[in-house]
């Protein structure tokens, strides 16, 4: 009985204690459910987001660059479908065999093979290796024919930049290529949109307008597993192509410039004298920007780099030349404006001028005799301008030259390689060379030699501003959102006011004190081209439709010694490096002028022989395309 009693007591203890535990269990279970509730119901959104972040990965695809078109809408920088070859290592059965096959099919170099092997070691097995960025069509067909034997190889079609006119626009557009680390870091938009294989503008407008041209990435979303392998493709988000940009240039004229400067070093610029539109801007020699798209070969690069005619330099914007006699219209204008001379003022040219024991020669050894402004300009008499410059002084000359755009950047905001050149005065010399100005330097400045340095585009703008009657133009190469017609521009100029589309203000753009003076200079330039004994008389066009006025220039690159002057060598007898630069500035048609141009042929000899004939050929084309261009002005408005 005692035993059973104890057993019952024990049972009671067990039951009582079980009850306590049971209660505890209920509490704990409730706690677990509360936790589940908090995770799954209260914080569901947060964890759902985290789960999506885990499983969804986005792949950005390279954005498609915007097209650049010329004034007539012809694509000058576009996009082209290219064929690429990718290998997906995890799908390859025998990697070495595949490489041998590809090497034979595509003539891959050993270096390329080594590079592929290196990439294979670095990348995940499901990441594709790009074997060839740009297969030719025949290679692409060949690969497709042998595809059954090339397991793990994927021919891919993608889009790449293309310059259909090859070297015609290189110095305007620049080119695109793979960005380096610094370029990615410097530009936030590139940083954000960068994907391997993407190309960015390296030079010219491609670089300057990068943020407009770049476009947005297409995005592919994939579901990935914990190791990053793609499992499913989810939705695809299309990218937006970069902005289309319309330039003011005319491809036909630009092409003609290239042909006229063929195998010469030099530059041609053409500008609308009222709107400031740059019609052509060609620096010769040029090079093919398409070579840079997929990495230029070392041989081709050396060929460009070592070319003595220096194709890499944009001569239009960064070439600095003495303006030579092309400065004479400005000297004449400045003298007239400052009332130092008038049309009746005459100087006797004896072929040289003595000043403080130094002799200053005229190009014509025998001298021109008594010359007035018109004759001096026509025959480009140096003695006359020595005397005018002496009377005028360099400081007053500089004021006029600066007004007409010398010593300042023309398109500064668009091209970082543009140089501003130099127009000296006494103060400049004191500050920069620490020496006082010498009167002899005024004389040579008066014929465009000495310290003066100008870019071909500056000379073109200077000529344009003389041609339009002495009004400031705002040169541009991109068609504005609100393009001003030439009639409007002309009208507002002639009323003395010009509407600035950027600041939306009416500005006084008058560069002269007396418009008569401009007229005198224009007439002198006309005589220089269209009257007998004019320096560019041989290059004139009599048809008034094409008739133009201009000024030749011959810029010495070294001092002519007495001996050389006596020898009077023919061009071919002088070493190339020592030959004079040939220059020519002109505008036309003479009645109702529309266009100004500047031509420079490096080491071309005299301006009248080497540069002016080019203008004759070009003007016909420019004027012929004028009507076409006029019709085109209401062409769809494409903006940046």
């Amino acid at each position: 009985m005692i035993k059973s009693n104890s057993g019952i007591r024990k049972t009671d203890v067990i039951n009582r204690r079980m009850f306590i535990i049971g209660a505890a269990k209920v509490v704990v279970f409730t706690g677990i459910i509360a936790r589940l509730f908090s995770l799954q119901i209260n914080e569901n959104k947060k964890y759902l987001t985290l789960s999506d972040k885990n499983r969804i990965r986005e792949w950005k695809l390279p954005p498609t660059r915007g097209n650049i078109v010329d004034y007539f809408g012809n694509v000058i920088a576009g996009n082209l479908k290219v064929y690429q070859l990718h290998i997906i290592p995890e799908q390859v059965e025998n990697f070495n065999y595949l490489l041998v096959r590809l090497k034979n099919l595509l003539n891959l170099s050993d270096k390329r093979i080594a590079r592929i092997n290196k990439l294979k070691a670095e990348l995940k097995p499901w990441d594709s290796i790009i074997v060839s960025e740009n297969l030719s069509w025949s290679q692409f067909v060949k690969i497709n024919n042998y595809l059954y034997d090339l397991v793990g190889v994927k021919p891919v079609m993608t889009i790449s930049r293309n310059y259909p006119f090859n070297d015609v626009y290189t110095h305007v557009l620049g080119y695109v290529s793979q960005p380096n680390e610094q370029e990615i870091l410097e530009n936030e938009i590139i940083q954000e949109r960068f994907v391997p294989g993407m190309k960015i503008g390296k030079l010219g407008l491609e670089k300057r307008l990068e943020n407009y041209l770049i476009g947005t990435n297409a995005i592919q979303r994939y579901e990935v597993n914990a190791y990053g392998k793609r499992i499913n493709q989810l939705e695809h988000q299309k990218g937006v192509q970069g902005s289309k940009i319309r330039l003011t240039v005319d491809t036909e004229i630009q092409k003609a410039c290239g042909e006229l400067l063929n195998e010469k070093a030099g530059s041609i610029s053409v500008m609308d004298i009222y709107t400031g539109d740059i019609i052509a801007m060609y620096s010769s020699p040029s090079y093919n920007p398409n070579l840079f798209l997929f990495g230029i070969s070392q041989d081709e690069w050396q060929l460009i780099r070592n070319n003595p005619l220096k194709p890499l330099i944009n001569k239009t914007l960064s070439g600095l030349y003495s303006p030579g006699s092309t400065i004479k219209p400005i000297v004449a204008l400045s003298a007239l404006e400052n009332k130092v001379i008038d049309t009746k003022f005459k100087v006797k040219c004896t072929g040289k001028m003595e000043l403080y024991g130094q002799t200053f020669h005229c190009w014509k050894e025998k001298g021109h005799g008594w010359v007035s402004l018109k004759n001096a300009m026509k025959q480009s008499c140096d003695t006359y301008f020595y005397e005018v410059a002496r009377l005028l002084g360099v400081d007053r000359l500089k004021i006029t030259a600066e007004k007409f755009g010398l010593g300042k950047k023309v398109l500064g905001e668009y091209f970082d390689n543009e140089k501003k050149g130099l127009f000296p005065n006494t103060k400049w010399k004191k500050n920069n060379l620490g020496k006082g100005w010498v009167l002899g330097e005024t004389l040579i400045t008066g014929i465009g030699q000495g310290y003066t340095q100008t870019t071909p585009l500056q000379l073109c703008m200077m000529t344009a501003q003389i041609a339009n009657g002495g009004f400031a133009v705002k040169p541009k190469i991109i068609v504005d959102s609100n393009p001003i017609s030439y009639e409007d521009a002309k009208q507002s100029m002639e009323s003395g006011l010009l509407f600035d589309t950027d600041s939306e203000e009416l500005l006084d753009k008058k560069l002269f004190k007396n418009q008569k003076n401009i007229k005198i200079v224009q007439e002198a330039m006309f005589a220089s081209t269209n009257e007998r004994f004019g320096t560019s008389y041989k290059s004139r066009i009599d048809d008034p439709r094409y008739q133009f006025a201009g000024k030749t220039g011959t810029a010495q690159v070294k001092r002519i010694s007495k001996r050389e002057r006596e020898l009077d060598l023919e061009l071919e007898q002088i070493p190339y490096k020592d030959r004079d630069h040939a220059l020519y500035v002109a505008y036309g048609p003479y009645v109702n002028p529309r266009y100004a141009l500047s031509i420079i042929v490096e080491h071309g000899g005299s301006g009248s022989k080497a540069a002016a004939p080019i203008a004759k050929k070009l003007f016909k084309l420019i004027i012929d395309r004028h009507d076409l261009r006029n019709k085109q002005s209401n062409f769809e408005r494409i903006t940046v």
Binding site: K10, M18, K25, L36, Q40, N44, Y47, S51, N54, Y227
Partner: protein
């Protein structure tokens, strides 16, 4: 009265089948089916290795449970010490000749499957202590001798298991043992004192932990300190459960598991996958199913006439409860990561074997609930 009870010794097979607890049985079957369904999902919706093996194990161990149930509870009482002793021997064997895997030595190769004796100890210790307290007079429960003996019974296997090393299982064994001590009538103040002592000595215990164990505790306290390393499992587990929401992502649609973000999804983190696919509703449903099982076991204990059966059932019910709580707390980020499977659901033969044997003994207690044991 006694006479009548003795006659019960001879109940027929038909009566045994009739006396089985069908609610418990159906719950276990439901759980088994569910476990195969979930295992099928861990295999990515295909019948692969884990699904096949899990099914085979269930097909072997479920009949084993019935087989165990058909032995009289008295038989299990009689053999309790021996079974405990045999499992101790297995632990000794494993600590010398066991198979090593990922740094610990817990398994022995039995050709057909690999046995983890420490899992069996979870049940054996309950049997052994239930028998000891069954025989112990209530007056002697708190005597020095008995306390020494029961503590030795608990500590000896724990020493072996902890040296494998396997902290999770040893904690579960200790808790299973302690619950019998509690139920057996050991003074409450002893529990309070030891708990206080444990809390005070906790810093010292932690200093004795292995570096990886310390790391687990640190990770538990702040999973974000190393989200791709030590904290990865718990972060991914919480993401999976939390993203399940009310209804879950749907069967075979759990992205966290399907895309391999979940570690150990077949074993310790099986609940995570279940919860991701079936949501809050499914998880609560699973907890209800477990609760039914626990409740039925407690009820069987309550109607048992012998204190051995009563202690075993109560103890085993608590043990199952603890396994579930430890596993769920771990995957829900409430406890540090200690290896502890979810009964029946998790992949793993030894755990299932032990659980099924436990259920078998419970069912035997049910069949023979009127059986007195001297």
């Amino acid at each position: 009265m006694f006479q009548h009870d003795r006659l019960n010794n001879e109940i027929t097979l038909f009566q045994k089948i009739k006396n089985l607890d069908y609610i418990l049985l159906i719950s276990v079957i439901l759980l088994s089916v569910l476990s195969i369904v979930v295992m099928y999902s861990t295999d990515g919706g295909e019948i692969l290795f884990h699904t096949k093996n899990h099914f085979v194990k269930l097909a072997v161990f479920f009949p084993l449970m019935i087989f165990v149930a058909f032995f009289n509870i008295k038989f299990w009482h009689n053999f309790s010490y021996i079974i405990y002793f045999i499992v101790i021997l297995l632990l000794v064997y494993v600590s010398f000749f066991g198979i090593k895997s990922s740094g610990s030595q817990r398994w022995m190769d039995l050709y057909l499957f690999v046995l983890q004796p420490s899992e069996l100890m979870k049940v054996a210790i309950i049997m052994c202590l239930a028998k000891y307290f069954h025989r112990l007079k209530i007056e002697n429960v708190n005597s020095f001798t008995s306390i020494t003996i029961v503590l030795s019974i608990i500590i000896i296997p724990i020493i072996f298991v902890i040296s494998q090393p396997d902290l999770g299982t040893s904690i579960l064994i200790a808790l299973s043992g302690l619950i019998i001590l509690w139920l057996g009538g050991m003074k409450i103040k002893y529990f309070i004192y030891s708990f206080i002592t444990f809390l005070i000595s906790l810093p010292f215990i932690i200093s004795f932990l292995k570096p990886y164990q310390k790391l687990r505790i640190l990770t538990f306290l702040d999973p974000d300190r190393d989200p791709l390393g030590a904290g990865y499992q718990i972060i991914q587990s919480k993401i999976a459960i939390g993203s399940g929401g009310l209804n879950g992502k749907g069967f075979l649609k759990g992205t966290q598991s399907y895309l391999d973000f979940l570690p150990e999804k077949h074993t310790d983190f099986i609940f995570t996958l279940f919860s991701e696919e079936f949501g809050f509703i499914g998880s609560v449903g699973l907890l209800i199913l477990y609760s039914i099982i626990i409740f039925r076991i407690i009820r069987i204990g309550a109607i048992s006439r012998s204190n051995f059966a009563r202690l075993f059932c109560f103890g085993y019910a608590f043990a199952i409860f603890i396994y579930i709580i430890v596993n769920l707390s771990m995957v829900l980020g409430l406890l540090p990561i200690v290896g502890s499977p979810l009964p029946i659901m998790s992949y793993g033969g030894s755990s299932m074997l032990a659980t099924m044997i436990g259920f078998g003994i419970v069912l035997s207690a049910k069949i023979n609930h009127k059986q007195m044991i001297a």
